[in-house]
Amino acid sequence: MAGSHHISRREFITLTTAAVGTFIGAVVGLPAIAYLIAPALKASTTDAWIPLGKLATYEVGKPTLVTFTRSKVNGWEKTVNSYGVFVVRKSDTDVVVFSNKCTHLGCHVNWNADKQEYICPCHDGQFGIDGNVLGGPPPRPLDRYSGDKVEIKDGTLLIHFMEG
């Protein structure tokens, strides 16, 4: 049959089998790839405005710890994570909010009123009232909410919280 335009019965069967096989493989195989990588394609960051109560209730110049929880659904499981922030009211209208998560390894820092600094209980990282590193291993200042990440609506303080 070489050089002929006709294909033999055997060649036809081989070709058809290969074509049908490839088609079935693609119909199952391509969706399978999408199926496997689906969770990686989901948006992983969520954001929300978290109300932290009336600004007037916070004492000026004294960092106050506020905790809140956020729930997150991963697949079929819901987890509730708790977060803490220090609200530092500088004046009647000026406020800055710091995350209480140490920038070293993520332990929760505490405000020490005697020393006037945030101290991390894990590796003795120290931060000033403005969030800057005073000593210890932390590589950068405490994460802060200020500018457009903070809003005061009808006297209520809100922070723009990002997750993930």
Binding site: Y35, W76, E77
Partner: protein
Amino acid sequence: MIMWKKLFAWLDERLGLNDLYKATLDRPEPKGNWWNTLGSASLFLFLLQGATGIFLSVYYTPSPDHAYDSIQYIMNDVAFGWLIRGIHHWGATLMVLVVFIHMIRVFVTASYKYPRELTWLIGVGLLICTLGMGFTGYLLPWDQKAYWATTVATSIAGSVPWVGPFILKVLRGGTDLSALTLSRFFAAHIWMLPAALAGLIGIHLYLIIKHGESAFPGKDD
């Protein structure tokens, strides 16, 4: 093209691909008949069930707390999850059907006779394993239908004289249908039965290649 031929020749010399092809796929066949393709169809469905089952196990969780929710997640939130599970669901029904028709064909054409008695016996094992796959897989969605179907079916097994209560406890992993039932059905469904099936299929195929396919009985038979 030349390069591929060279590569193939290199591999063939070391792996014996042509001999393998001739022995397994290029065998002499009796006159073609569509009824003779049901074994291959069963094998294809087994492989399809294996592939889709492996994919389902990526998300499925065999625990009473999460089994149902994880399947809801597969159906609603995973890309093409409905397709993978749909193929597995309908493939299961189709496989039982095809295996049964395959058995009936072998029976009607008397292909189980000498020298193929063992092929038939292995086939019986394959049928039982296939039904076992259907039985264990039915519980895994852990919905009302699955729960009560398994309650009834294990109770039937429990009605055997003398040893019934023991069989029931072995099947359920205790007296009640529980987390233990779900996890042991899962283990049977994805490890024990597939391993048994794969092994028996290997012997079944070897015997078919060894004896060749039986010719369709003619008028004189």
